[in-house]
């Protein structure tokens, strides 16, 4: 019997489909991306590939990100901007979205009437395609969109517009009402739908975690006279730390990888450029495959680095990292 379960050929056969998929589409492309990032080429077949060392990375972070027609984005540190934007998005997600999700999850999980219905409604936006959400918010942020109509109805449109104009330094044009058309407003405008869509996702994970806290632990705390706040702080939050860790990792790596919303929300993604939108433009609109691969490599490294850093930060004292 032992021989049947240790027969090498059947082990290989069972692993084969998964290995082919996994190595072919994930592992080999990572290696290829690293190689491509050290080369410059514009032909999709790769026939004109020339080795350039780290020049792609230098070009990416240098002020003159150019194509052969001259400056594509002259004198602007676009990859730097894109990274900064994605980190800003990550910070907003971590410090606004997650606490909000946690507060609601804590309230919901304590036997509120209709908690399942609330939960189901809050989670629903996660399932809607980001393309649809992007387009809906486009209609909200347009010059004649819902947001400006609401400001108009409240009679504060002029005041708000002139206030926003005073904050805009990237252009001399006064604020015309297109909320995604200015560097100062675009990223925040993009964060609102992201918050709307994903707060329910984190809430669901946290809610499930809180429901897993042993009931006798909570009862003991209540018998000891703990207030709700004390129970939350000293029992529930420490208990669901593994889930909070996953939420932070998802929020941060998700922001780094984010593409769909900015791509659908804005006609000109330059106002809130992210690494992915920059990669899309350089690779598939300008055929700079080497440069695009360099962005991919930066993203891979950052995703792994942040996942590890966050795991480290959430580690209990004295616990070993696995």
């Amino acid at each position: 019997m032992k021989r049947t379960f240790t027969y090498k050929l059947s082990i290989v056969a069972f692993l084969l489909p998964a290995l082919i998929l996994f190595i072919g589409i994930l592992i080999a492309p990572i290696i290829m991306s690293v190689i491509y990032s050290l080369n410059d080429f514009k032909a999709i077949s790769g026939s004109d590939m020339t080795y350039v060392g780290f020049r792609n990375f230098i070009e990416l972070f240098s002020p003159e990100l150019v194509n052969e027609k001259g400056a594509l984005y002259a004198n602007v540190n676009y990859m730097g901007d894109a990274l900064l934007n994605s980190l800003l998005l990550a910070a907003l997600s971590t410090f606004i979205q997650l606490p909000l999700a946690l507060i609601i999850a804590l309230k919901l999980s304590k036997g509120i009437r209709g908690e399942r219905i609330y939960l189901s409604i809050f989670f629903m936006p996660v399932l809607i395609s980001t393309v649809i959400i992007g387009r809906l918010w486009m209609n909200i942020y347009e010059t004649n969109g819902l947001l400006n109509a609401a400001l108009d109805a409240l009679g504060i449109k002029q005041q708000v517009f002139s206030w926003v104009s005073s904050k805009i330094t990237s252009t001399k044009m006064p604020f015309q009402g297109g909320w995604t058309g200015y560097k100062e407003t675009a990223l925040l405008a993009a964060f609102v739908p992201i918050l709307w869509q994903y707060v329910g996702y984190h809430m669901l994970l946290m809610y499930a975690g809180i429901k897993g806290v042993p009931a006798d632990l909570l009862e003991a705390a209540q018998l000891d006279g703990c207030t709700e706040g004390q129970v939350n702080r000293h029992i529930i939050i420490p208990y669901i730390k593994p889930i909070l860790k996953v939420c932070v990792i998802f929020a941060v790596t998700g922001s780094l990888k984010s593409f769909d919303l900015i791509y659908t929300l804005m006609k000109d993604t330059r106002r809130a450029e992210l690494p992915s939108t920059l990669m899309y433009k350089l690779t598939f609109l300008n055929n700079r495959y080497g440069l695009g691969s360099a962005i991919a490599v930066v993203l891979i490294v950052l995703c792994f680095a942040f996942a590890m850093l966050i795991s480290l930060a959430f580690r209990d004292k004295g616990e070993k990292v696995s």
């Binding site: 991306s33 809050f122 329910g200 769909d260 899309y280």
Partner: protein, 301 residues
């Protein structure tokens, strides 16, 4: 803590807050439904027009002004926006494409994940823990890593603009989560069953096909739902690997449609609604299972 359900001031306050949040959650969808049934003249204020877009005149031959109605219910319910979106927008085709791509990716993910999980949990060999860790790397790898290389491979194999161009990458990127979920479920199946089947004369393939796979039905649902949601809404691969309308999936198709109706909100709203409603129906029927799929993915990750 169910005894705390008395109606105190603070619980009322919590309910009011939650209801405000519910309104914020549902408003964009309500708004989408209302403007999908209006025309621009009603949304922004203008003149009354018929379905063909010609101004309706009153008895004096004057145009009839309509007041701006951005968020209210439509005064005239213009259902004609829906056939407009369906016909010009080719929404039926995109819908079918999304279905074909998602279903195929789910099938491949399930087969590959179950087989690999079987090898890593029921068969005995050195390095199966390592192999598991190797597969779990996929949870952190961003899809951007594959973008340029897979694009070049697909182009060389003349596979751009086919269903395969999306099915294989989708299956590959769902695989790690598929294995992660399957390992939990397969570990719960008693090992005595393998031995009994072996004594009855089954080989490893027989045990896998006749004993293990049929017991993995709950895992099939969880992995299937997870993979479905990954594929159904995916945009980056779908934008780059497919450019022919014939193979476009729903997100790209809807995005495409905006180019044709840049300013006409009615048909855009109708297209958005057509793309959203099926997902909402599925969610209404399967909300618990769908939520469980997301939780399983995150808690074990």
């Amino acid at each position: 803590m169910n005894e705390n359900r008395k109606l105190t001031f603070s619980t009322v306050l919590v309910h009011i807050l939650l209801i405000v949040l519910v309104v914020i959650n549902l408003f964009p969808l309500y708004w989408m439904m209302t403007f999908s049934l209006k025309d621009n003249d009603e949304i922004f204020g203008g003149y009354l027009k018929d379905d063909a877009g010609k101004a309706i005149l009153d008895e004096n031959g004057e145009k009839i002004p309509v007041e701006r109605n951005m968020i209210g219910l439509p005064r005239t319910w213009r259902w004609s926006n829906y056939p407009k979106a369906l016909n010009t927008g080719n929404m039926g085709r995109y819908f079918l494409n999304s279905l074909i791509v998602s279903a195929s990716a789910i099938a491949i993910t399930l087969i590959a994940a179950f087989m690999a999980t079987y090898a890593m949990t029921r068969l005995v060999w050195k390095g199966r823990k390592m192999m598991n860790k190797f597969f779990m790397l996929g949870l952190t790898i961003p899809i951007h890593a594959a973008l340029v290389p897979v694009f070049m491979i697909l182009s060389r194999m003349k596979l751009l603009d086919t269903y395969v161009a999306l099915i294989i990458p989708y299956a590959a990127f769902s695989l790690s989560m598929g294995i992660l979920i399957s390992i939990g479920f397969m570990g719960d199946i008693p090992y005595d069953l393998d031995e009994a089947a072996f004594l009855d004369g089954c080989g490893v393939w027989g045990i896998f096909g006749r004993v293990i796979a049929p017991l993995m039905m709950p895992a099939t649902a969880t992995v299937g739902i997870y993979t479905f949601l990954q594929c159904w809404n995916e945009l980056l691969f779908a934008t780059i690997f497919v450019s022919k309308g014939q193979y476009m999936t729903l997100p790209v198709g809807v995005q495409q449609l905006f180019g044709q109706y840049t300013t006409d909100w009615g048909p855009i709203g109708a297209a958005l609604a057509i793309a959203t409603i099926p997902t909402m129906i599925v969610y209404a029927l399967l909300s618990k299972r769908i939520q469980a799929g997301f939780i399983a993915g995150a808690v074990k990750g």
